[in-house]
Amino acid sequence: MKVSKSYPLELNVNGEWKKAEVTPRETLLYVLRERLGHTEVKEGCGKGDCGVCAVLLNGKPVNACLTLALQADGQNVVTLKGIGTPDKPHPLQESFVKKGAIQCGFCSAGMIVSAKALLDENPKPSREEIGKAISGNLCRCTGYKKIIEAIEEAALKLRRTKNDRR
């Protein structure tokens, strides 16, 4: 079997530069998961219909399965783990847990990425704006209600923290 030509790739993932040799067909999702150990990015459908693989690419939420790894060469990728950690949780992670917005959890990584992108751009989103921001992220367990409530609460907390700092 002919082996596809591979190319060098450099990605900044959650602040760290990582290198890999990739073939053109390999998506960002595949490389993140299989080459770079970022299994927090999930695969649900492989063609952009479910949003489970959402990551921030140069700050914008995209489906990692709809981006070829080479198309992200030299660029910044942020995954769920770059948004918050057990040592330094992001208010979105805290509110998702506290509001019961996580059931099976499979959509949560992509959902939190989309929510983070929203709050970065719009610190005071309405319910409609939240609904629109996550309209590319499917959830089969929660019916979205607690997810929307969690995002609202995180937005409020972030605004308060910002105000407190003033």
Binding site: G46, K60, C65, L66, T67, L68, L70, G136
Partner: protein
């Protein structure tokens, strides 16, 4: 598979001329990657245009707006210039796919894919936009001549879309857009319509109507446009137009809808957008 990521348009053109049929272009990848996944895409060479940043722009000029081919749909969907000067394109962009897809999909990609339901094609038809093609030379193709058939456009193997020109319209012009899908996000159009009308009170001076998902390609409803132009817009005329549209379109039946339903909805949406622009 071989991969090239040209940084400039001339670089891209050299590659396209070299590889011709062996290569496929990729921009946002939102159509190309699924067809790679399904095995539909056979080409062994990938020319990635996504690094040609110079083609990402939305510029306002005196009589028109210019949108670079590689401008993302989400940029179009949040652009003040587009919202003011091409509101139906703004609306269509906001309903294309979903927010994640919109961040990658490009206007050139949406047009080059040539789907009969292409979301941006429909308002661009009503706006009488022009597609600027860059190949050996630069060509300007009116959007209504750009589409040839299902997923077929006039683009040759050594050509790419450089930009889209959208003429500004005068203050007497009203526009409206409507997309009918089976759910409120991530929906492929069952029928979509865009209309541009220039009215003088109840007299229609100009009518341009674009439709998606009702024919092998995105189309203009020329017959209905003719019926409307230079006529008084009466209730009777509106009804006649809605009855005529069925003859102009040739929708198919698929898992989303039957051709009969599409025909009926083409008429319903026409009535609605015409009411919207004449109020």
């Amino acid at each position: 598979m071989e991969y090239f990521a040209p940084r400039t348009v001339p670089e891209a053109l050299v590659l396209m001329r070299k590889w011709k049929k062996k290569a496929t272009l990729i921009a946002g990848g939102t159509n190309i990657i699924p067809s790679m996944r399904s095995g539909e895409l056979k080409q062994k060479v990938l020319i990635d245009l996504s690094q040609i940043k110079i083609l990402c722009y939305i510029k306002e000029e005196k009589n028109r707006i210019r949108i670079g081919g590689l401008t993302s749909i989400s940029e179009i969907a949040s652009s003040k210039i587009v919202k003011i000067h091409a509101p139906i394109l703004f609306e269509a962009a906001n309903q294309l796919g979903n927010p994640l897809v919109r961040n990658r999909a490009t206007i050139a990609g949406n047009l080059a894919d040539g789907s009969p339901a292409a979301d941006t094609a429909v308002p661009l038809l009503a706006l009488e936009a022009t597609v600027v093609i860059q190949g050996g030379e630069e060509k300007q193709v009116p959007v209504h001549q750009f589409f040839v058939g299902p997923n077929q456009t006039v683009l040759k193997r050594d050509e790419m879309i450089k930009e889209v020109l959208v003429p500004k319209f005068n203050p007497n012009v009203r526009t409206a857009y409507s997309k009918l899908g089976l759910r409120n996000s991530m929906a492929i159009s069952v029928v979509s319509i865009a209309v541009l009308m220039e009215m003088e009170k109840t007299f229609c001076k100009k009518a341009r109507i674009g439709y998606g998902a009702v024919a092998p390609k995105p189309i203009r409803a020329y017959r209905v446009e003719e019926m409307l132009e230079n006529h008084e817009l009466t209730e009777r005329l509106l009804i006649a137009c809605c009855e005529t549209i069925g003859k102009e379109i040739s929708p198919i039946s698929d898992i989303r809808a039957s051709k009969e339903y599409r025909t009926e909805m083409a008429s319903v949406l026409l009535k609605r957008v015409l009411k919207q622009v004449t109020q």
